[in-house]
């Protein structure tokens, strides 16, 4: 099947905005992603190091029934929805996203490195692009807006140094 084009950004933005609005109306809270990852992690750590989790003041906040949480169900839904959309558009295939000037190995090392930086930062800021910038942006939370501009600033400041990865 031939890959279909992405939908226009403004249409996707409206779809995403209505989803976010429905989350507020139905549940009284916005969307998120990194919080769910944190909960999977604490659950996983708890399987073989439960005393370590209990002794750590940060992990312990998530230790009680880590998977019995709204965000965990939401992120499982994200997997389903992303897969469905990709399947309907013929976009399911194993690839590595990168520019022409970097090796596959180089890209995968940077993907892991960037992920590590982001995982740390998302915990420090109490959220990521969806849970803090998008959700906080829509509710006009001061921290959400400050965070969003900081994310763009950090990304643009770093872009030149990793340009060979993308362009």
């Amino acid at each position: 099947m031939k890959e279909k084009k992405y939908w226009p950004p403004y249409l996707s933005g409206i779809g995403l905005g209505i989803t976010l609005l429905l989350a507020f109306v139905l549940m009284g809270r916005g969307l998120g992603a990194s919080g769910a990852m944190m909960r999977f992690e604490v659950w996983f750590l708890g399987l073989f190091a439960s005393s370590h989790v209990a002794a750590n003041p940060y992990f312990a906040k998530y230790a009680l029934n880590p998977l019995s949480n709204w965000l965990v169900y939401e992120i499982i839904g994200v997997m389903v929805g992303g897969f469905l959309s990709g399947a309907l558009a013929g976009r399911l295939k194993f690839t590595i996203g990168k520019g022409p000037r970097i090796s596959n190995k180089g890209r995968l090392i940077l993907a892991f490195t960037g992920g590590t930086i982001m995982g740390f930062a998302a915990r420090l800021a109490r959220g990521c692009t969806s849970g803090l910038a998008l959700t906080g942006g829509a509710t006009m939370a001061v921290g959400g807006w400050a965070f969003m501009f900081a994310v763009f600033a950090g990304g643009y400041a770093m872009a030149w140094f990793v340009r060979k990865q993308w362009i």
């Binding site: 933005g13 139905l26 549940m27 006009m140």
Partner: protein
């Protein structure tokens, strides 16, 4: 009266099912926009593809205007809606670091999940890194706790910060979004020409 869950219209279990369905919609739209692709996301930082900016501001405006009208009609009680607490220094510094991680890694947490389920191998490496980074944060927590708690301003919102009415802030955000859309289109055209 919304938010329905907060006013006990349904149980926590039903809430989980709703969460799942909202997640399906969230993932669907992220993939539709092209956010399963790290390259498309990263090109934002080289002005060649401003989809991230356009999608983010469109969805913020849609949800924000919706909430403002529902409040006006008396359909939703905003005091029962979760407002992200502001810890300004933790969030500004966290945001700067997260932006670096975005352009290095090519994803953010939500989009990496969409990338992973559509077969992007780099998304799996990113996800592994993100879990590792969260683990490091937890292990380092005693050393970063002061920063994590710095600049606590509570659940403060822009109208209170600037002492403006909600309607005025909504209007200003819409103006800002329109400016971003024009700027984004202009930048894309400019950098596309240079490339050609």
């Amino acid at each position: 009266m919304a938010p329905f869950y907060k006013f006990d219209y349904f149980s926590e279990g039903t809430g989980f099912i709703i969460a799942l369905l909202l997640g399906v919609s969230f993932g669907f739209w992220l993939e539709r926009a092209g956010f399963g692709s790290s390259k498309k996301l990263a090109l934002q930082f080289y002005f060649r593809d401003m989809t991230v900016l356009k999608v983010m501001f469109t969805s913020i405006v849609v949800a924000m205007v919706g909430l403002a009208f529902f409040t006006l009609f008396g359909w939703i009680d905003m005091t029962a809606v979760y407002i992200n607490p502001t810890y300004i220094w933790a969030q500004v510094i966290g945001g700067l670091i997260l932006g670096v991680g975005f352009v290095v890694g090519g994803y953010c947490p939500g989009t990496s999940v969409v990338g992973a389920v559509t077969g992007r191998i780099d998304a799996y490496f990113f996800l592994g890194g993100a879990l590792f980074g969260m683990f490091i944060f937890g292990e380092m927590f005693p050393w970063v706790e002061d920063l994590f708690l710095s600049g606590n301003m509570g659940a403060i919102r822009l109208p209170e910060l600037f002492n403006l009415s909600t309607g005025v802030v909504v209007f200003l955000v819409i103006l800002l979004a329109i400016g971003m859309f024009y700027g984004g289109e202009w930048l894309e055209n400019k950098f596309r020409e240079e490339e050609a």
